[in-house]
């Protein structure tokens, strides 16, 4: 009897059986769902521990710095698996996103060894890496003595692996051969359209296929719906307003933020193509964006869609995912569509935000920390999060192929898988990696605000902005 149960759970963990099949089989054996959950954890532990000494750092205590996020929730929900498997104790401090990165900057710049690992975005590593605050994880990934043979690094989506590695040279290509792996992708979001199907049906429009259609459709929705506005995009005075929909559309036209010549950077936002895209974007916000767009962060963009205050957003796909559930007024009414701004483009080119895990250089227990990192980014934990929690979007190709995960998403979030699958090949970071990223991208958003407020014309504004950026780059010795 015991062997039969054990065999069932091991088949499940090995991916030979779906969760539904497992529960049906365990039900026949008289096991409750909670008991089945416990046995799954044990089977995961056994599977991961098969060829690797997970107990090597037993008794060590690690401390993490986490952002309040569904990814962190999924990790916390499964942390007992890690503790049982390794004998390592893990504690954490968790902060809301508004203050999270200030806390990280303060903790790392102080040289304090309080935290062993922490959540980060890839862009932040362009500061943390050159400052010497985080370790190159390649040293661990490439060391077979320290890395579980089943870890399968190559299973992580290649665009995400590349986007989280940089050689530290301003303008250096992400993922180059000499790049350091500053962090490990954990969960990610790409930028596409999430829309209210009821509102689209009412007005009789389809999700737009390019930027001109997006401008026209948004205007029609605003006009015909008589209340909700056409399109939600971010607008607050922050770098975070540039990276989602805006840069995804911008990159689709082949436009760049900077040109790199002989190691020197020069602003490229005042090209003819860039000016054209900016004009369309500005027009779209003026005609069909939220009234107080200049205050809009991801939070306002998402909640307006969930509350039925907007008909469509061009932002993170997972924002549309989260707004389609819970207590949101429009839960169940949302659809998803891939979006290529350029009518001549063959596929979307979404810029990505990657929540990742990094190792603090000041940490004192790096080998044990690496054990945690490889467990937290393992196939097993990714499957747990994707099947049971809101650990989307997964960063591993194998999880995207998992039938149970796909079935769950397809059932509740129609169109979500398609928008992802169509866009994933072109999904990566489209910014130029350079140390002034935050200053200059915030300056970009500042100028976009001025253009939308009609304080400066687009052409003149972009010329002035490019000149100001070039001056700042020169002052920092980068231009």
């Amino acid at each position: 009897m015991y062997d039969k149960e054990k065999g069932l759970f091991e088949a499940f963990v090995a991916g030979k059986m779906s969760r539904r099949e497992l529960l049906q089989a365990t039900g026949k054996l008289g096991l409750s769902a909670s008991a089945a959950g416990l046995l799954v954890t044990q089977a995961q532990t056994r599977a991961m521990a098969a060829d690797f000494d997970w107990m090597k750092h037993k008794g060590t205590k690690l401390k993490l710095l986490l952002n309040k996020h569904p990814y962190a929730d999924a990790m916390i929900a499964n942390i007992e698996t890690f503790k049982t498997m390794t004998g390592i104790d893990v504690s954490w401090d968790i902060f809301p996103e508004d203050v999270y990165f200030d806390k990280v900057t303060a903790a790392l710049s102080s040289g304090s060894g309080e935290y062993d690992a922490f959540m980060t975005g890839a862009y932040m590593t362009w500061t943390y890496g050159p400052a010497g605050w985080i370790d190159d994880i390649n040293e661990y990934i490439k060391d077979p003595a320290k890395t579980n043979p089943g870890y399968n690094w190559e299973d992580l989506l290649p665009g995400l692996r590349a986007s989280t590695s940089w050689n530290g040279v301003p303008g250096g290509e992400l993922g180059s051969a000499d790049a350091k792996q500053w962090c490990i992708p954990w969960g990610y979001e790409l930028n596409n359209i999430s829309y209210n199907k009821k509102m689209f049906d009412k007005v009789g429009v389809q999700p737009p296929k390019n930027i001109d259609e997006m401008v026209a459709t948004s205007a029609k929705l605003t006009k015909d719906l008589g209340g909700p506005y056409g399109i939600g995009v971010r607008g607050s005075r922050s770098w975070a307003s540039i990276h989602p929909g805006f840069l995804s559309g911008y990159a689709n036209f082949g436009e760049k933020d900077f040109n790199v010549t002989d190691g020197k950077l020069k602003a490229a936002m005042n090209s003819a193509g860039s000016k054209d895209f900016h004009k369309k974007w500005v027009q779209m916000i003026q005609e069909s964006g939220p009234k107080d767009w200049a205050n809009y962060t991801w939070y306002q963009v998402g909640t307006d869609l969930g509350a039925g205050a907007s008909a469509m957003i061009f932002d993170a796909d997972i924002l549309g995912y989260f707004m389609n559930g819970g207590d949101n007024k429009e839960a169940g009414n949302l659809g998803y569509a891939p979006f290529a701004a350029n009518p001549a483009a063959s596929a979307p080119t979404p810029n990505v935000w990657i929540w990742s895990l990094a190792m603090a250089s000041a940490g004192k227990q790096k080998d044990a920390t690496w054990y945690f990192l490889q467990w937290a980014t393992s196939v097993e934990h990714a499957l747990f999060g994707a099947r049971k929690m809101d650990f989307v979007n997964p960063v591993r190709a194998s999880v995207w192929k998992d039938e149970e995960f796909r079935g769950r998403i397809d059932k509740s979030y129609a169109g979500y898988l398609n928008q992802h699958d169509v866009s994933a090949p072109g999904a990566k970071i489209y910014f130029t990696a350079q140390p002034l990223f935050f200053d200059l991208t915030t300056l970009w958003s500042e100028n976009l605000q001025k253009m939308v407020a009609k304080e400066i014309p687009v052409d003149e504004g972009l010329d002035k902005m490019a000149a100001e950026m070039d001056a700042k780059l020169a002052e920092a010795g980068l231009g």
């Binding site: 200030d102 922050s238 009234k291 107080d292 140390p435 915030t442 001025k450």
Partner: protein
């Protein structure tokens, strides 16, 4: 021999104790002072460096280059202008409103005491929370204030997100939070004024406006100066309300000193630039404090002379 030496000892000890006593008494203040001065001089030192945390190779002593860069940057002058306009506007409005309310509540009655306590409530709210509250109230979709102004014929009021109304919006929040501070200080001042001049004026039938401008205001001036100084210093260093409402935007409309310095440090990790900006702000507040304190001392001398 031993006995002959003994009588001198207590005298020596007491002389030493007498000399040491002032230093001992001022030791806690001295330690506090050191605790303040160390970070201050560290900031001065950083302001003379090219120092970005993410460009460690470029760290170096550049003397006053950070300051020179500021003075040749139109954005710095915009920051200076906005900071001064914001501070001036909020302090004047809060002073006028605070004085008006204080005069209304001057008479000691149960109702007035209750109202004055009630009016203090905004001051007990953290400014960042007050800003978030106002952000909700001014939301064009569901904010109560947006609804009210739409009834008055302004259906498209964009509050903090419109360059034309952003300064007005954050000023409104500042006035809501800090007017009670002015009110309570001035109320304390009004209630402590000697009654004799007012009784004499009443007996002589002096007009109320004359009493206000020639008796009340001059006698209240030390309180007005003190309250204004406190508020001015605080207001020119405003961060919470502006950052929570607009992050310094729209555009660079509200990019005051503290917001710019915060972004320079926490976002750009440009320690040198951020420190230089803070030192300039310190110099401005130091100069303003001096002006006010000199005025206050003059008034005190005048009062003593009269007495």
């Amino acid at each position: 021999m031993t006995s002959s030496a003994m009588p001198g000892r207590p005298a020596k000890q007491s002389r030493f104790a007498r000399k040491a006593l002032p230093y001992l008494l001022s030791l806690p203040a001295l330690l506090m002072c050191i605790g303040i001065l160390i970070p201050f001089f560290t900031a001065v030192y950083y302001s003379l460096l090219r120092y970005r945390l993410n460009l460690p190779a470029m760290k170096g002593f550049i003397w006053f280059q950070n300051y020179i860069n500021f003075f040749s940057d139109p954005k710095f002058w915009n920051t200076l202008k906005i900071s001064l306009v914001y501070a001036g506007l909020t302090v004047v409005l809060e002073l006028l409103l605070g004085l008006a309310i204080a005069m209304l509540l001057q008479k000691r009655t149960r109702l007035n005491n209750f109202i004055s306590i009630l009016l203090l409530l905004p001051l007990m709210t953290a400014p960042a929370l007050a800003a978030l509250m106002w952000k909700l109230m001014t939301n064009p979709n569901f904010g109560i204030l947006s609804y009210l102004v739409s009834i008055l014929g302004f259906p498209d009021m964009k509050w903090g997100s419109d360059p034309a109304t952003a300064l007005f919006t954050v000023t409104l929040v500042d006035v809501w939070v800090y007017t009670p501070f002015m009110m309570i200080l001035l109320l304390a001042g009004l209630r402590s004024l000697p009654p004799a001049p007012f009784e004499a004026a009443a007996l002589d039938g002096v007009p109320r406006s004359f009493v206000f401008f020639r008796i009340t205001l001059p006698m209240l001036m030390p309180y007005i100066l003190t309250a204004t100084l406190f508020r001015l210093l605080d207001s020119i260093q405003q961060f919470d309300i502006i950052y929570a409402m607009t992050q310094g935007g729209p555009g660079d409309k509200l990019l005051v000193f503290q917001v710019q310095a915060y972004l320079d440090f926490f976002q750009a990790t440009n320690v040198g630039r951020s420190a230089a900006l803070m030192i300039i702000l310190w110099a401005i507040t130091y100069a303003l404090s001096n002006v006010f304190i000199k005025q206050w001392l003059k008034l005190r001398e005048k009062a003593h002379g009269v007495g």
